[in-house]
Symmetry: C2
Subunit: 317 residues, 2 copies
């Protein structure tokens, strides 16, 4: 159960007075999501999601709101916030910063097939085109520097051989940053496009959600995160049909350049490293008082080892 | 048939290269609308309407685009344009200015019942709240000055007694402008919210369309245009249940003030006059070479006479 903050009808009526979305008809808590409180809210004018931000750095919220608004304005299907009558996107509910967001149809798919990956490839390519004109900046909160300091915290609390692997991989990525990655195209990327952050209506993407790790990074980093989650099954076996379907659709709207093809095997490792490190921190240093799902770090270690041995190609033949 | 400009698949593929909405899947012309060419366009990312502006003053288009974008951003359901990858809303297709717009579900309703009017009342109230923060300005192209010059053109080409009525009503409205209307709240209003410009999904408004007469004017003028079309049947008989349902919903989000209640009977006449005059011009001075539906001016003359005799109240008891 992830509804942290209990919201009452009175809170919602007060909130809705600041918007032009009509009157409250119904609302219900959503038991999904890890770091935010989410409610479905129905009004006389439509269906919305109310998100109360429980852990996000409040100063970063305007960036995320602007990004979702920008993408939706360009036709990229995604959750995006409703403007208040005073023009802002952020409200306050029960002391938390909050946003009212357009509710998307559809649901996430646990075991996506090639047809899901094909639709996603087209959407991600358009997202990577649409962010070219998005100018606000945002650091990557889970950058290589963050991973390096995480490794320091983990020294002594995890098995020595695992920590050695972590340190070795960080060193490899630090070298790659100045060499393989030097000329890669960057833009604001989603950086967390796992299966649970993509909604489908039939086999067509109805929307991307949860942009709260979005940051300026390599477009290729976004692709590597996607490949690691969408083209590998739960036993970390590579599913070439999935990735082929994704890339076939992707390249119809955006063609990766030579530098991106060359950096791909290293970037797959970078994406595995990023989530291995953050899950290690979550597992070894759980934040007190929180009811969160601790996710197993091990799959990302296995993925990293697999990529070190033999990474799949960016463009399947 | 109102598809004026024939658009081919090649035109659409060229157009879509400038957007982030995916690849062309299908398209079909829409035989509705009077002054624009409209096509349904399906792409891999969604469903859109392409509008080619055949008669709209091109310099005014950015205002309309910004207005639709503003309203949609505030949650008011309406047709609104997709941003191009360069950030603009306007493209060019076959030499015409063109916009790609989100396609709404639903259809217009020829004989709306109270339940339709109730939903519309809520949406119009929210639109009238949301425009408070919309700052661009736009003159009313069918202002009282325009009507007065129309009357000059019509002198001698229409029956003398009808022209006398027209002149008398213009004089009445000119006096009302400085007196009854002096303190009325103004904002950007739709100014053309007839039944064919509102789409419904079941009995709920799914969207407002055709904002190409939107301008700064009295909020009450918008209400009077709506009352004249939605609360009068085709024999110009007043349907109090319709108007009561509309206003019951409207006042839950915006309460008309004393000045608006006092000006209401005169404003109903102003709204009837505006469409009587423009339809007289269309009927007596049809533009050459155009395939348009000439609409009968007579109903608006009858409505005007009815209001002069006995106008219904703004707020039904």
């Amino acid at each position: 159960m992830s509804v942290y903050t209990r919201v009452e009808a009175d809170d919602l009526c007060t909130l809705l007075a600041d918007y032009a979305v009509g009157e409250l008809e119904d609302f219900t808590g959503i038991s999904a999501g890890i770091t935010n409180t989410n409610y479905f809210v129905g009004t006389s004018l439509g269906r919305w999601v109310l998100t109360l931000f429980e852990q996000v750095d409040e100063t970063e919220l305007p960036f995320f709101m602007q990004l979702m608004d920008h993408l939706a304005g360009h036709g990229v299907p995604c959750a995006h916030p409703v403007a208040r009558n005073d023009g802002g996107f952020l409200s306050r509910v029960r002391g938390r910063p909050a946003a009212l967001v357009y509710r998307l149809n559809g649901a996430s798919v646990e075991s996506p097939g090639p047809e899901h990956c094909r639709s996603l490839g087209g959407v991600v390519a358009e997202m990577h085109r649409a962010v070219a004109s998005f100018t606000p900046v945002q650091r990557n909160a889970r950058s290589l520097d963050w991973i390096a300091s995480a490794a320091e915290r983990l020294d002594g609390v995890m098995a020595a051989d695992e920590h050695a692997l972590l340190a070795d991989e960080i060193a490899f990525q630090q070298r790659a940053t100045d060499t393989l990655y030097a000329d890669l195209p960057t833009a604001v990327v989603h950086a967390d496009l796992f299966r649970d952050n993509v909604l489908f209506d039939q086999a067509r993407v109805s929307g991307l959600i949860d942009f709260y790790y979005a940051c300026r990074d390599y477009l290729l980093f976004d692709l590597a995160i996607i490949c690691n989650d969408w083209a590998f099954d739960d036993a970390e076996h590579y599913c070439p049909a999935q990735w082929q379907a994704f890339m076939n659709a992707y390249v119809r709207r955006r063609t990766p350049d030579e530098a991106e093809r060359a950096a791909w095997p290293a970037m797959l490792r970078a994406a595995a490293l990023r989530f291995w490190a953050s899950r290690l921190i979550d597992a070894h240093f759980p934040m007190s008082g929180e009811v969160v799902h601790i996710k197993d770090p091990a799959p990302f270690k296995r993925l990293l080892l697999a990529h070190r041995a033999d990474a799949p190609a960016l463009m399947p033949q």
